[in-house]
């Protein structure tokens, strides 16, 4: 882990507001990276399972096409689930 000062890319003469903004954008960025990391991990797991039922000597072109499709499909599914989940939370705020 880098030292926080370097990570925030702060010179010693940066203003307070600059440091505050830098801290917030670093946190937001880390959070986005983590979200993307989990998504990629899940896609890899789910699409490997779907598209490579019997691993051969190399990825076939069919398997490669399947992986490309699966990846896009998984992201769509993620969005559909996210939408359904938001709707549920909105219509049912007390219940979870």
């Amino acid at each position: 882990m880098d030292n926080l000062g370097n990570m925030l890319n702060l010179g010693s003469n940066s203003t307070k507001e600059e440091r505050k903004q830098a801290l917030m954008s670093t946190i937001a960025q880390e959070s986005n990276i983590e979200n993307a990391r989990i998504l990629i991990e899940k896609i890899n797991e789910k699409c490997f399972e779907k598209c490579i039922p019997k691993p051969g000597g190399s990825l076939s072109s069919g398997e490669t096409i399947c992986l490309t499709n699966c990846m896009q499909k998984y992201m769509q599914a993620w969005n559909a689930v996210s939408k359904a989940y938001i709707n549920r939370i909105r219509s049912d705020p007390g219940g979870n």
């Binding site: 882990m1 030292n3 926080l4 000062g5 925030l8 702060l10 307070k16 440091r19 505050k20 801290l23 917030m24 946190i27 937001a28 959070s31 983590e34 979200n35 989990i38 998504l39 899940k42 789910k46 699409c47 779907k50 598209c51 399947c66 490309t68 499709n69 699966c70 896009q72 499909k73 998984y74 769509q76 599914a77 993620w78 559909a80 689930v81 996210s82 359904a84 989940y85 549920r88 049912d92 219940g95 979870n96």
Partner: protein
């Protein structure tokens, strides 16, 4: 490397700055929790609803409604289980 985690100096931050940061972080945490739930639900519901071979890049209509139902029934299940546990706890 005597001090690997040297943090920048925040000693001049006012109470308002601290409050701003606190609410920003709380918001980010809530967002992260929501996203973690969506990751978990997508994992579960993908397995339940996307059962055929991958023949294209889009989620079709029946798969889409399955995903929606999956999310809602998962939450219903969760609530039912919590309610049931409550009843059991009351009895014990």
């Amino acid at each position: 490397m005597d001090n690997p985690i040297s943090s920048p100096d925040f000693s001049d931050f006012s109470d308002k700055d601290k409050k701003d940061l606190q609410s920003f972080i709380q918001n980010e945490q809530q967002k992260a929790k929501f996203q973690a739930n969506v990751h978990n639900l997508t994992d579960l519901c993908w397995t339940k609803c996307i059962t055929g071979k991958i023949s294209g890049a889009t989620v079709d209509r029946s798969e889409n409604s399955c995903l929606e139902n999956c999310v809602n029934r998962f939450i219903d299940s969760q609530k039912t289980i919590v309610r049931q546990l409550d009843v059991m706890g009351g009895r014990a």
